[in-house]
């Protein structure tokens, strides 16, 4: 075995005990007869192996766990306001996955708003306005409000007679 090849093994598999028994024996045999490779092995151990052997385990400060816990809690807490909380309470009553129920709830809500927006809040037809006015007038007359009258009509009855001709 040549020194270059031995040193290639020494700096990797040999110090890491990854060589098979046969290869290990060959390297060890070479080392007994080669002071340069033995010196190389000493340098590898001293500079690149031994300094790490006494490295202990470090422990993080307790604040690290506190931060982790806070982040998890923040992620788990509902990030939305009262409306979504109400939605969640409502949808949680159904045995359907919450996202599906949420989507259904919001769709229904939008549809409802759209339908209501299109629905007439007061009847704007002119005939409806006229009839409504006349009904108010006649009911006022029936209740005895004669101030509503002018001209020849003196009472509710005379107005009825006038209408029926």
């Amino acid at each position: 075995m040549k020194c270059k090849k031995v040193q290639d093994r020494l700096i990797t598999e040999y110090v890491d005990k990854e060589l098979g028994p046969e290869e290990t024996a060959k390297v060890q045999q070479h080392l007994t007869a080669c002071p340069d490779c033995l010196e190389f092995l000493g340098a590898v151990q001293k500079s690149a192996v031994v300094p790490f052997k006494e490295a202990g385990t470090l422990e993080p400060e307790s604040v690290v766990w506190q931060r982790i816990q806070e982040k998890i809690e923040a992620e788990q807490a509902p990030s939305h306001g009262g409306f979504w909380r109400l939605v969640d309470i409502f949808v949680s009553r159904f045995p359907i996955p919450v996202p599906v129920m949420r989507a259904a709830f919001v769709t229904a809500l939008i549809l409802g708003v759209v339908v209501l927006a299109k629905w007439p809040s007061s009847y704007t037809d002119p005939a409806y306005g006229y009839l409504s006015e006349q009904m108010t007038f006649m009911s006022g007359l029936k209740a005895g409000d004669t101030d509503l009258l002018n001209g020849d009509f003196k009472s509710y009855e005379t107005v009825l007679e006038g209408i029926s001709g």
Partner: protein
């Protein structure tokens, strides 16, 4: 790292914070040490530890128990630390140069004394600073965590030949530093 029972992992995966905290207590030292050795500052190591456990919390529910939990955690920890270290290393050339000048100034006398006196803590930081993040991760997993080549390859998602060549280059760099120190000491 202490063993973590399957049942505890399952409970944590179902949202049991008590079980998750127990996992943290058993594994935090390992994750933090690994992170510290790869990113090389306390602040960054804390950030990495935090990120690792948040990722763990999110993905515990989908852990299939097909792989070893330890290897899975090694993988998350080392990759999070590596990404962090690489992100950090994307600083301006000037900053890198300054960093090297600083570490070189501190290294020369202290390194030799440190080895002689067995003062490994600061010495480790100086040595690891000489390596790039990929080499650092390999050295840390090998020398500090005691993983074999197969374990390092699995943790980093690389093949064994890459593990070998990274370890070789890392050690060559450390030996050059060692020689400089010896020369400096002799002068």
């Amino acid at each position: 790292m202490q063993e973590i029972e399957r049942e505890m992992i399952a409970r944590a995966g179902q949202g049991d914070m008590g079980a998750f905290r127990e996992i943290y207590q058993r594994a935090a030292g390992y994750v933090y040490t690994l992170a510290y050795r790869v990113v090389n500052t306390k602040h960054d190591a804390e950030e990495v530890t935090q990120d690792v456990f948040l990722r763990l919390h999110k993905s515990l529910g989908s852990f299939k128990f097909e792989a070893s939990f330890k290897t899975w955690l090694y993988r998350i920890a080392v990759n999070t630390a590596l990404n962090h270290a690489k992100k950090r290393s994307r600083v301006t050339t000037r900053e890198v140069e300054e960093l090297f000048e600083d570490s070189a100034t501190v290294t020369q006398p202290d390194a030799a004394q440190g080895i002689e006196a067995g003062e490994t803590k600061d010495q480790l930081k100086i040595l690891l600073d000489q390596l790039n993040p990929d080499q650092r991760a390999c050295i840390v997993l090998r020398e500090i965590e005691g993983l074999d080549y197969q374990g390092i390859a699995a943790s980093l998602g690389i093949n064994i030949n890459t593990v070998r060549s990274r370890l070789k280059r890392a050690r060559e760099t450390l030996m050059v530093l060692g020689k400089k120190e010896v020369t400096g000491h002799e002068m």
